[in-house]
Symmetry: C4
Subunit: 208 residues, 4 copies
């Protein structure tokens, strides 16, 4: 509904929407998307994400992580999530990845046992490719680390673990979640779906 | 307040509002309305509902479900809710039906016993035709199914059950709700009324 | 900040804001304000309140309740709250009254014992004239009735009860609240203040 | 992203955003920022904060608190928070201070023992300079007073207490919080960060 040529604009609109939802407040969170094979659009770090404009993105080499094009604003630095984003893209063929700092992701991750959240009995599960409402869906949850690049090895381990073959999200305890899709629109969809699942788990647990 | 000639525009605005309310996130939910006798405007499936535009609607035959007019965007497919929508329209004379994926509808449906939610002690009940605040209003809740067309027979049974003669909504466990009105404006009103009732039931149950 | 000549416009903006807050959904709630001595601007009943336009208001005689001017749209009828609104205006010298259908007002009213909510230990109490944060503020709560005009005698009794001399709001069990101010801006302020108080009471009670 | 020359405009936009978040309703809350060394832009008191316009600000002497420039609207009076704001600026070198009336700040302050909230196990802690996610961060909480200027001595004591050397916020029981940054953008960031922390503490405590 928005042409691919407007991809930077689309990423900015998603950041605004996610900010309105409270998922990336306090300059937290991030987003990236493949502009073309090998070239990754990456939002800057440490800025108010809802105010990111199309000209603020870095273009990064997906394989090496090196900056191919930098924004003209020399004060900007590329997102600290870059290494995790590139790992998800390479391991899962993702075209876009969202990093959420939503409270619901934190509260849901609190409930994970043995490194995973179990999600079941929810129609919204159908929003995940290959998953249906009668499935027991496992969302991996990793421990938080002092710096985001240190999460890379945990994320790498998750992405090669058969238990989590169907997941399009990884929770990070006390922190939030990484959520991806094969393109930006699917990443938007999955971001909404997983936040719904997180909220549902938290609400149902409050009753148990 | 918006002329009937703008009905497609009105449906799009309602989708935007319902999305802002969190009722149709993750491409979930849907909407339909009679454009004229026998011709049903039906939103497409699998798209970000808040971005649906007037030219994206299908026109479907109310009796047969066959597509009379398709949008020029050939990638669009008609909503999977079509059969349920048409059943509600035929059985209840509805002019518009909303399908909600709200968390409050899921959490309220969790509380249903013997296939129904009991709603009472709420002024908002007066928002439902023929119901008053001193009534004990029964909202039917059906089990979820693997695919939405399979819900048709449950919905059909509900709509011919005398216990539920006054309901303008059907909850679907783990899933959401179908809510209708005699026209689009009444469907909007009932959608807001039933979501308020769902939220009230969930909040009051949390205290019990 | 908006001139008095724009009073109808201001009332419409407040309805939009209150609707966004979830306080007047499902065509519920209402608003009125004195246009000039004796002439009361009254929103119509049974319409989607967030879509009320300046030309939709009735002008009603404050003393008799009779319609002085009706909107050109002949399908509109004056709010059912008219009698209660006029009672508050006459007894308390109010210049504007809001009728809320907020869930927080319902849930707070559930907690009232002996016909009143006790509000204390909140800075927000200072938003009410003559009340300070060290006061124990009593908000009267009346039983709901089948029709809103029947509430008039309960409201009249409350407004002449010395216990409630300082209140600018009356809760209605299972229903919502009436909140007023000496003019529209103060009614807006008090509406926000009392909703904050309702939400605080409900949240704190959930812990007790 | 918005030039410093637009600082008044930026303060107004932040007030609008904070109002939308429910942090400064009912004319509560406030904001200030250094326009230049010694000159403090101060919002007016007792007005609907989301409607404050650039021309409504006072310019106040940071050292003495005396008004250097008053808005042309003679009905406006400077914020009651002025003395507390100036204390924070002088003691901590802050460039901007926000006063929040958020319910989450009140509910979190309810949980403080021995004058402090303990915040830990949250990535969002990294949004505070010199604090990391493995730290145990202490947020001071002072008792409320009848009038805001009386809080000045409690605030002064907090700001010279070594236990709270790293805090950029002070909770006020039953009331809200003061939150600051070295400039307006950092104050915005810290405001969002601390509200997230308050919400997280309240949600996690509800489970304990």
């Amino acid at each position: 509904m928005i042409a691919l040529s407007d991809q930077r604009e689309l990423l900015c609109r998603l950041l605004q929407r996610f900010y309105d939802n409270g998922w990336i407040s306090g300059t937290g969170g991030g987003i990236c998307a493949l502009e073309s094979p090998g070239r990754l659009l990456l939002a800057p770090t440490g800025v108010h994400k809802e105010l990111v404009a199309p000209e603020h993105f870095f273009v990064v080499d997906v394989d090496t992580g090196s900056v191919i094009e930098a924004p003209s604003d020399a004060t900007l630095r590329p997102s600290e999530c870059g290494d995790i984003f590139r790992t998800v893209i390479r391991r899962r063929g993702a075209g876009a990845v969202v990093h959420s700092h939503a409270l619901a992701a934190v509260l849901a991750s609190d409930l994970a046992a043995e490194g995973a959240l179990v999600v079941e009995q929810l129609e919204m599960l159908k929003g995940i490719p290959g998953v249906t409402n009668t499935d027991r869906h496992l969302v991996p949850v990793v421990a938080n680390t002092a710096r985001e690049p240190e999460l890379v090895s945990s994320v790498e381990a998750i992405l090669t673990d058969d238990r989590f073959a169907r997941t399009w999200a990884i929770g990070v305890r006390d922190h939030g979640a990484y959520i991806w899709g094969s393109d930006v629109w699917e990443a938007k969809k999955h971001t909404e779906v997983y936040h719904f699942l997180f909220e549902a788990i938290v609400a149902r647990e409050g009753r148990a």
